[in-house]
Amino acid sequence: MAKPLLDAFLLFCRVSAVAFGGGYTVLPLLQKELVDGRGWLTEAELSDCYALAQCLPGLIVINMAVLVVRPRLGRAAAWSACLGVLLPPLLIVLLIAALLGNFVHLPVVQHALAGIRCAVAALVVWSAYRLIRSGVRDWPAAGLFMAALALLLFDWLSPALIILAAAGAGLLLGRLRERRAKP
């Protein structure tokens, strides 16, 4: 009884610990552990799971944990896997946050943080660029892109409402397109 729970917990502890700066490093480890090692799913099934996990709300790794573990080991093991995802970042980040809090007033740390902010801005621009490249492909999409950008930039709508409105707009546009396609 306890063995699958522990297995799921430890597996996703490892997965979470290597999910380093974006979920892309997770896939190779999952392939090795789940497809080659345990034989729970095929390569194609894993890739479907990954695509679905990216579409669902929240963290990709948590979604993967539930989608992969729950059908095979049950509900309790899925929760145990999620705890496994939670644990490593919780310990490491809390430690760093506490340490940084002690040193943040030092001038050298202030200078370093000012330099880091330039790097962070560049990384976020890169991330936005990738999203634009894959998500903004036609005029209606460009309109939605500009609308979301302006609404957030000028603080007119909260991100949650923008997300909901965009989902609604996507449905509406899709329906309109279908209606136009029919003679």
Binding site: C55, L59, V93, A112, A114, A142, G174
Partner: protein, 182 residues
């Protein structure tokens, strides 16, 4: 009751932040104006730490943000609240997996979501550029530091050309910032 506020805000982020990685960033940015939990500059530091430590970026950011707002317990509350909606939604989807994965309505919704998420991330990009190179705190800086602007442009070129792991740029930014007294 700060923990209840934290839990409520991070439950929402867990439910609405779609796309993984930095998807939680626009929501955390929203919190800067709403509560006095952390400043925009502290948010940028959180991104740096979250991108440079093991663990999913969203979870790292939530843990750090919760800690910044309300200490150790705040970090635990925020990260648990962040993952709860995911667990519930993914469990629900497990039951309807086959019907769900090729639904046309879902596809249409995502055709609308993708450009919007790109727009949100672009807006945050502008605010963070303004934070890095300027003195102001909004999207439009009051004054610009030439040194920081140069470093930002170099970083941007480096990110686009080499596509190394984020931690490389964060480390380079720290060293350059400390050496040249930014």
């Amino acid at each position: 009751m700060i923990y209840a506020h934290l839990a409520w805000e991070f439950l929402q982020i867990g439910l609405f932040a779609i796309g993984g990685g930095l998807a939680a960033l626009p929501f955390l940015h929203d919190l800067v104006g709403k509560y006095d939990w952390f400043t925009l500059a502290e948010l940028a530091d959180m991104v740096a730490v979250a991108e440079s430590t093991p663990g999913p970026v969203g979870l790292n950011m939530a843990t750090y943000a919760g800690y910044q707002a309300a200490g150790l317990l705040g970090g635990v509350v925020a990260s648990v609240a962040l993952i709860l909606p995911s667990i519930l939604v993914a469990s629900l989807v497990c039951r309807f997996l086959t019907r769900f994965s090729n639904s046309r309505a879902i596809e249409q919704m995502f055709a609308g979501l993708r450009p919007a998420v790109a727009g949100l991330m672009s807006a945050i990009g502008l605010s963070l550029i303004s934070l890095a190179v300027g003195a102001g705190s909004g999207a439009f800086p009051a004054s610009i530091s030439a040194k920081a602007l140069l470093l930002f442009c170099l970083m941007l070129a480096a990110v686009f050309i080499w596509k190394k792991h984020p931690i490389v740029y964060v480390a380079a930014g720290a060293v350059i910032g400390a050496l040249f007294r930014f």
